[in-house]
């Protein structure tokens, strides 16, 4: 690792320098430690070593060092960033100060939090945007209560990269055994709170050992320097872009009647024109038409980019909605368990309505009394009736309408929220969603009542859904009818949900647009699910053209109870049969949105059973389905 010496390149070839610096990445990190750990000295050193200090500042620094510094005639780097005493006198709230420096590989934003009272609130704020945390430990003191507290908070806020900087190594004679013991102590603690890994290093912020340059005093240390590590640590870019797509809609862009764009910053995943998306919480689906930017349309956009999407359909979508991957949407719920960090002098009032802001959604929320409070020094759970300033607790909360969310562990943007006092408008708390309560409540509720197992036992059968999918006229209803008759003869309790019949009643309000087709399948899925709860073997005969909805229905059912049966009839054959005369109408244009003609059909990729109707008779097909149901295939 070499010292960063940009001057030569700047002076020699500014264009090459600019080119190099336009391709840097950005790393945001937080430094954790109290005054005595040498945090300010370390940050000052980083700024100094990366040549981010101008001569006039340096002159002032040298003068101040001699006047008020704590390092004798040497430069007191802490003075570069401190100046906090004066601010305290002026009564200015100090929570987080942001410092900036750059090397040839990365730009860094350092969140610096003063390490005294208010520490929890400040550190949580700084950690909320950090990719990495530098935990400073004084080599003379080892792992202290505050080290554990800092680590717990960093871990709580989802920081995946931790650096254990054992500082002031110069004051312990660069002793390897001292260092090894601290690292071992810390490793034991880290494992106990679920920290998967960390990068330890012996440094001296004051002397500069292993900060920018490898130290001659620690030949036993083979790892990277602090800057070397900060420059090279792998960010979670690829993982974030591989997540399912999420765009919280910030603003609807409507410059004229012909353009309607949905603007926001992508919270996760990747999006491309042609991608199927679902609008949450409504559940309507559409397709991405364009990714519009000032610099031209994009072929793809990824997490962290601010974009504007247009959709193929005129679907309802406004601020607060989330546009998500249709095949893997996020959850929608109105009751949650969450960790809450209280940040206001006024304690939390369980039951009082607060504004809750999550992503671009603003709702009213009620927080229940905490289940427990966490002692941030010992990680013990304490009983608590409320939460005071800087307290962290776990509580249930409910919102006045459903919100789209993800657990905080999966997404900071869709799992982190703030609470706002409705009277003072102050931000009073930060929260991290764990999970929605609905599912766990249902299981509990059913267990007390006549259970689905009881229903099934009474009928002496296992409930199941036989889901027939295929083009119109493929033979779904014909085969399903034969299967049901056979099952009846076997004393099975069944029910056949047929597409046409359902559209005469339950779904008579739905048409054949993509959105309506999705809703059609969703409702049928819910009905089929209720019927399996009642112990029935359900047969459904619906075109169900989209993979995403068939997958959605599969997810609704108990494991092993859903069978996707693909009635595979080539379009030409189905059209030739045209039992209901619909293909003729579709071809003549009098029938719109007809699957296979002007509306797509997405064949199953891995159906539980595929029936090629050009090769088997309806009766043979029915036999195959029976075998599938009884596990004889």
């Amino acid at each position: 690792m070499s010292v960063y010496e940009p001057e030569a390149l700047i002076a020699k070839d500014i264009d090459a320098y600019l080119d190099q610096h336009q391709h840097k990445s950005l790393l945001r990190f937080i430094t954790c430690g109290s005054v005595d750990d040498g945090k300010s000295t370390l940050i000052g050193r980083l700024l100094y070593d990366s040549k981010m200090i101008f001569e006039d500042q340096l002159a002032a620094l040298e003068a101040d060092s001699k006047r008020v510094g704590t390092q004798g005639q040497n430069i007191d780097f802490a003075l570069l960033v401190d100046g906090l005493a004066a601010e305290r006198e002026q009564g200015i709230t100090i929570d987080v100060a942001y410092r900036f420096f750059t090397t040839e590989k990365r730009k860094f934003i350092v969140a610096d939090t003063p390490g005294h009272e208010q520490y929890t609130r400040n550190m949580v704020t700084g950690a909320s945007t950090a990719d990495l945390a530098v935990i400073l430990v004084d080599a003379r003191k080892g792992v202290l209560t505050q080290t554990r507290r800092h680590s717990y908070l960093a871990h709580l806020l989802g920081i995946r990269h931790l650096v254990l900087a054992v500082n002031k190594m110069d004051l312990v004679g660069y002793s390897q055994s001292t260092y090894d013991k601290i690292v071992a102590d810390y490793a034991a603690f880290a494992a106990s709170i679920g920290i998967a890994g960390f990068t330890p290093m012996p440094i001296s912020g004051y002397q500069g050992d292993n900060v920018t340059t490898r130290s001659a005093h620690t030949p036993w240390y083979q790892g990277p320097t602090l800057i070397g590590h900060l420059e090279s640590v792998e960010l979670d870019v690829a993982a974030d872009q591989a997540k399912p797509f999420r765009l919280p809609v910030q603003w609807v862009n409507r410059p004229n009647q012909d353009f309607r764009g949905f603007a926001g910053m992508i919270a996760g995943g990747t999006v491309r024109p042609g991608d199927k998306v679902r609008i949450l919480p409504s559940g309507h689906t559409s397709t991405v038409s364009r990714i519009v930017t000032f610099d031209g349309d994009l072929d793809a956009a990824v997490a962290g980019q601010s974009v504007t999407l247009t959709l193929a359909d005129e679907v309802d979508c406004s601020r607060g909605d989330v546009i998500a991957a249709a095949s893997d949407p996020c959850q929608v719920a109105d009751q949650f368990e969450a960790t809450i960090v209280w940040m206001a002098a006024e304690p939390m009032l369980p039951g009082r309505p607060y504004w809750l802001k999550l992503g671009t959604q603003l709702v009213t929320a009620n927080v229940q009394a905490p289940k427990y409070q966490v002692n941030v020094n010992t990680m013990e759970h304490l009983a608590a009736k409320t939460l005071e300033l800087n307290a962290i607790g776990v509580a249930n909360l409910s919102t006045d309408r459903p919100i789209s969310f993800e657990p905080y562990s999966a997404s900071r943007d869709l799992g982190g929220f703030i609470l706002i006092d409705k009277l003072t408008n102050a931000t009073v708390a930060a929260g991290l969603l764990h999970f929605s309560l609905r599912r766990s409540q249902n299981v509990h509720w059913q267990a007390l009542d006549v259970s689905r197992e009881a229903h099934a036992r009474l009928k002496n059968q296992s409930p199941a859904v036989l889901w027939f999918t295929g083009l119109s006229g493929a033979g779904k209803s014909t085969i399903a009818n034969r299967v049901e008759k056979k099952l009846l003869r076997m004393n099975r309790h069944t029910f056949l949900l047929d597409g046409d019949n359902v559209r005469h009643g339950l779904n008579k309000d739905l048409g054949f647009t993509d959105a309506d087709r999705v809703e059609n399948i969703r409702r049928v899925g819910e009905v089929a699910k209720l019927m399996t709860d009642a112990g029935l073997v359900v047969l459904t005969a619906f075109i169900s053209p989209f993979r995403a909805e068939r997958e959605m229905v599969r997810q609704m059912m108990a494991p092993g109870e859903f069978f996707e049966i693909f009635i595979d009839t080539p379009l030409a054959d189905a059209e030739q049969r045209d039992v209901k005369g619909l293909y003729k109408k579709a071809r003549s244009g009098t029938l719109k949105n007809f699957t296979g003609i002007d509306s797509p059909y997405e064949p199953p990729e891995n159906p539980d059973l595929r029936i090629d109707t050009t090769k088997v008779t309806p009766d043979e097909a029915a036999e195959m389905v029976i075998k599938l149901l009884f596990g004889e295939l």
Binding site: I10, L18, F54, E55, D56, A97, Y98, G264, F417, A430
Partner: protein, 300 residues
């Protein structure tokens, strides 16, 4: 295959997110447009944020009548080019009293800028104003929030600032309160220059070195931009190759001697230079007039 976002793209995305959040959650926003390089970047980002629509807010120039002529030219050109509405406010009181930087010292800034800004915000009823301040400009700004709240009489209450977590901004405010929003808080001077270079953003030519008529006073090189400049007895304008690192009222803004006539040369000089940006502004040298105090009084 993942797409690597550079630091400039991430800063850009963050700024755009802030612009959109303000437009979505406030009633009557405005952008303070001072015609400097930070304003130029801010305006460019605003145009990106709302494309293909125009930014749904006007530009407000709180004018002192003492800006460089080249600034007025670029201001009018950019307003025209962007199609955005340009509001120019000159404090009528300062105008009537003939307040100028030669006779009135600190009062000049106070009346034209601080009071002028308050007047304009009140006159149009703006409840949110975008400003181009950056956290790297000086130590006291490092802890500034991106959203800064002002009381109905424009006072800043430093004891009551809201924590800013994740990308969540609490924009709730009482009637009469307003917000100053700084979308380029996390940009450094180098980022600004690189972005101007990368995106080809028009800036005032005064940032580039050229032969200009100057006088030297109190260690500052001042440009004689028009015949209102009062020459002291015996003082004669001298042609020097100069440029400006920061732009304000021309009689108060110090130039640096330079031959950097292109953007890369300017950046090169900036990187190799040894004095920090705000040194060129007379305002910061005012005895103990800390930024903090000015902010509490309503200075942007």
């Amino acid at each position: 295959m993942s797409i690597e976002l550079t630091h400039l793209r991430r800063l850009e995305a963050e700024s755009i997110q802030i612009f959109r959040e303000v437009v979505a959650e406030t009633e009557n926003p405005v952008m303070l447009y001072s015609v400097g390089k930070d304003s130029a970047v801010m305006m460019h980002l605003a145009r990106k944020a709302f494309f293909p629509a125009m930014p749904p807010f006007p530009l407000l120039h709180v004018d002192t009548t003492w800006k460089f002529r080249a600034m007025y030219e670029l201001r009018d050109r950019m307003a025209k080019e962007s199609g955005m509405q340009l509001l120019v406010h000159q404090n009528p009181d300062a105008l009537a009293r003939g307040i100028n930087p030669f006779d009135h010292g600190g009062l000049h800034t106070d009346l034209w800028k601080t009071e002028g800004l308050k007047q304009a915000l009140d006159k149009y009823g703006f409840d949110a104003a975008f400003g181009g301040a950056r956290r790297d400009e000086e130590k006291s700004r490092a802890k500034e929030r991106i959203f800064s709240f002002r009381s109905a009489n424009h006072r800043w209450d430093p004891k009551n600032q809201r924590p800013e977590l994740w990308r969540l901004y609490n924009t709730k405010k009482a009637k009469g309160e307003s917000i100053r929003v700084f979308p380029i808080s996390n940009w450094t001077e180098l980022d600004i220059w690189q972005y101007i270079h990368l995106e080809n953003i028009p800036i005032v030519p005064l940032y580039f070195a050229a032969e200009r008529p100057t006088v030297e006073r109190d260690g500052l090189i001042l440009m004689v931009d028009d015949d209102r400049f009062r020459l002291k007895p015996g003082e004669k304008p001298v042609m020097r190759s100069i440029r400006f690192r920061t732009l304000g009222c021309y009689p108060l803004t110090g130039a640096v001697e330079s031959h950097a006539a292109t953007l890369p040369e300017v950046i090169q000089e900036m990187l190799l230079t040894t004095t920090s940006e705000r040194q060129g502004r007379a305002i910061d040298h005012d005895q103990a007039a800390s930024m903090e105090k000015k902010k509490q009084e309503g200075y942007f």
